[in-house]
Symmetry: D2
Subunit: 347 residues, 4 copies
């Protein structure tokens, strides 16, 4: 019963098979191979347009490298206070951008809206040399609170960003989960909503270690490959990254995996929220559940072998449980049952 993170899962069998298949004989290094070509084509097809796609192995690399082409070193990147790029990348954006600053925005459930961005931009000093210069906006999809920006949300933010000459980046480490929730197309959730660059994550959703940085505006991609290389993120045997992405895009695997993870999170949320004294801290829109529980329930789950994280301050009763592409429904039910029993709520 492992709900600590979608990073704790293994690799989907379809992707393991693709890795084995890619291992048939030699191939040119550094992406000059047939599998990489196919993966790029598959991504373009999935997103229904020409694009520039760059495989990398981690979400932090995808985000920080993407941002590095959107901002000068004296630039400002607007993001939510709880964005992954702010809280969980140990300063990677600052490293790869050469010292750009993140400007933190507020908003409930780890999302900010167009008006908040607008107000922040109004207070900035574009053209004033004393101030860092507004350069880019980054939104996390799904957010760190497990919530999802609708295409309208994103489009509103994009309009403000573009109106001020800023580019819009989407950290899509859980993009699949967001699309599964929205029921729209990948295109609608990204470039049709104004996203210029997308970190398209696969690792959390069944890949071994694979993300793609997607540039919908090819001119933005002009120097990305130099930045990727000098960051040590150009893989010599790149076909093994590409094979993961290709399998991920094939036969709807990405969406199938995400739907399952979301469904398991919903099942978990429903079960836990029904308990006396339980409260969902954030709406459950993707594959993460943040729930405030009575202490006995938390203790009972842990005792029953459910793995999860407490969240926030030390004394908090909030826990985070993350479902993944391979979470068994039975694990969900047993976790809920353990909590329920502890509350004398045998149903």
């Amino acid at each position: 019963m492992h709900f600590s993170s979608d990073n704790a899962t293994g690799v989907a069998p379809e992707i393991m098979a693709a890795l084995a298949e890619a291992n048939a004989g030699p191939a040119m290094a550094y992406g000059n191979d047939a599998v990489t070509e196919k993966a790029k084509a598959a991504l373009a097809e999935l997103f229904e347009r020409q694009l520039e796609a760059f495989p990398v192995a981690t979400g932090t690399a995808a985000n920080a490298l993407a941002l590095s082409v959107l901002t000068p070193p004296y630039g400002l990147i607007y993001c939510h206070r709880h964005a992954h790029i702010e809280e969980d990348e140990c300063g990677a954006p600052e490293l790869f951008t050469g010292g750009a600053k993140l400007h933190l925005l507020e908003g409930p459930h780890a999302k900010f809206d167009a008006d908040t961005l607008k107000a922040a931009l109004a207070a900035a000093g574009p053209g004033v040399e004393h101030h860092p210069q507004p350069a880019a906006v980054s939104i996390t999809q799904a957010s760190e609170a497990g919530t999802v920006y609708t295409p309208d949300d994103a489009a509103g933010i994009a309009a403000v960003a573009h109106g001020a000459g800023l580019k819009l980046h989407m950290d899509g480490a859980r993009f699949a989960n967001a699309v599964a929730h929205l029921g729209c197309s990948p295109a609608e959730a990204s470039w049709k909503a104004g996203v210029d660059v997308l970190s398209f994550g696969a690792t959390k959703n069944g890949a071994m270690a694979a993300e793609a940085v997607l540039f919908f505006e090819p001119t933005l991609a002009a120097d990305f490959r130099y930045r990727r290389k000098r960051a040590g993120h150009l893989f010599s045997k790149m076909r093994f990254l590409s094979a993961q992405l290709l399998a991920y895009c094939s036969d709807g695997l990405w969406l199938k995996n995400a739907r399952h993870a979301n469904a398991m999170a919903a099942r978990l949320a429903e079960g836990l929220a029904a308990l006396p004294g339980a409260d969902l801290v954030h709406p459950v829109e993707a594959n993460e559940v943040f729930v405030s529980l009575p202490e006995p329930a938390i203790g009972a789950m842990a005792a029953a072998g459910v793995v999860f994280h407490r969240w926030g301050a030390a004394a908090s009763r909030t826990v985070r449980l993350v479902a993944a592409f391979d979470t068994p429904a039975d694990d969900v039910d047993r976790a809920v049952a353990a909590a329920r029993r502890a509350l004398g709520n045998e149903a």
Copy 2:
């Protein structure tokens, strides 16, 4: 008949099997897993001492991150003019060190010696604020010319480096090939010869994408993990890096693979060097062959389907052929035969 690079090979079957095996159920992310523990223990055992080991996925990451803890941003790193860190990493050491400079040393066959280092250090300005400050030395093992530093070579360089307060890094992207050539132990080729930090490569020798940064002096490793993370090189599902390293260190796989590659390179060198008008450009000590050939021989090999690179200036008759862990002896013989036929040397 693929001799373009040891990067063009696939993955050794033992390592593919290890990846599959590591995929059994969830595991804690970011290296807090059993496979990573085992891999670290295996590396310590292989090198016969306590050490700090950090898996990363590319050689460029291993080198640049290793160097980043050995030099301040105003430091000098001494290396050969043809070091990989100088020529083929697009400035990664400069990025990760915050702007340190590489000071280039000369020497035949892509190796420099202790005296050359000594002379360079004598001309430096330690303590003079106008000058970048000597901080580290880096040697490439095997070198970019396919030659190998003996333990005595390395110890001589280490003595000069340490005498001046500098640390010694070894870029061991082809460390296995070097050790296979030397016939010594990994310890003798590294820390016993004064190496402080080793980029221990596996990718070129049968892994999918795995290297380990090994700190023989644990205090040097104190902040490596922050640097790895902010560079986007901390893998969430790290067990899949670790599994590669574990298999690589197990049952002598690393050495078996390297010996085979070296043997194939020697066979190739012997065959080609015997041709009329052929000259080995560098001694063949590891798995790379640099050979000057009559144009008809070059053309004939290409026509026969042998894949390789021309080397150096456009009009050069020098070619590089790289053997790998899985190079068939028959491929070697057919490549030589193609060249031989072109020279009317049917023997």
Copy 3:
């Protein structure tokens, strides 16, 4: 009637004289001269202890270079949301630290307190590789709101900082104004209150362009000179920086100048605050006055030739007026009179 900034003033006559005097014949470059020696001795005497002093020419250089030795590139610097290093240095700390992050704290009148810092540190993740690591704290003295940290304020912050292993930097661009307000010694306002490094400003208080970075803990200064040089802030004819600092420290010039500026600010504040509809936005403790005024008063002052800045949002009725070492009392009185007349308050 120039109240736009203390940067708009000229140079105190004592300092102009010192520059002329320093221009007698050649002297060794880069600080190996007698004037620089004397300036360092004068600073040590003023602060009543041994210290390491480095002249630079701008406050931004002083701050960013000081911070660069207090934090690794993956570090966090805690400061107020309205600190000069955050708002008005275009990312200089990020450049010189190699990408460290500023963590912004809240507090009224541009000051934060020990408890706020404590809470922020409690929420940080020291030792967790995903998070930037707490490294330093910076306070602005006087603050950007013209308020002053008492020695007790600073000592409280220092205790929290040091308790967590962080160093305390003080941006003392207006340190003289703060000390003039406090009536304590420079030592009491700095190292005796726990400050490890002080940017000791002179430019705003009568110098042409001179600040000193003072390290009270000499070990912290070990590599400062390399960082100063590579930032282009080592002056070849350094005696002309040193001469300014020497004159500034001599015969109490620094304090005399600051007392006058503070007195003029107080006079201005008293006059304006007495007007109907006027409100002081921040306590006036140093040489800056932030006051909310009826629009007619603002317009009348501008029409009368008073130079000042509106502050905050475009529609705000808040203005900032800054007094300096050479502000004539008559200018103050005429500015107040202009405002008073506009309000039909002829007194």
Copy 4:
């Protein structure tokens, strides 16, 4: 008898007078003042064209900031092995460019020629992601050996640079001395010869601390002011930098000073070269003399109170003597006489 450096001189009286004159009353900060306007106009007039001029205080700042807009962080800057930016700036170009690399070229007397650059560019890998990308060329005028690039020299280099898409920077710390030698106009020595950006030095030639970065192609200057500010090189009381530059450009002061310095160097060179056993190491074209002397002559000069530096290896008999705008002819003659006497060559 001070020949240690032109940095050891004081400030020309015309420039001291200008500083005093600029100190009349308040002026808007950060360059929004009348003196700065006039200085910019004077520079444009001197160079006979529209240009963008940015005052800074040190040559290292001028060079490194200029280069920072000419290269991406993964770029290559071509310069001579003995360029000031390579040898004497402690890595400032690397800091301000975010990690670009200097590619060192060879050539006698610290100059390289167009063919050498051409050959280096031919060996580079433009468009190959493994290699840093050629971005800029920098020449030092006068060179670190006191030699001068003719307009034809510079134009030849510019043609190669521009042909490959690179920009040409000139480090003109001693530009005035070079122009005095060439007898051409400043325009002919800079933009008419293809220079895109010039570090126009004044400090070594009579200013207190003032250089101007001149962009002849205004589009290149677009983000310079942000880079200057975040490097701490935007002066609040900028009029005092500008006043120096204005006086320097007025009434031919810059040229008068340089001509004198050059004449004194020539006189020194003539006197010393005539001594038995003496050899000029480099042609004396500007204000620096590099001469190999018998040990007794070196000792005798030092004993007589002549201040100068030995140059190169410890055991070298080469000394460097630098003349300046205010070097008395009598000092030159006495220095030569001291050396002559030591060689029993009383003339």
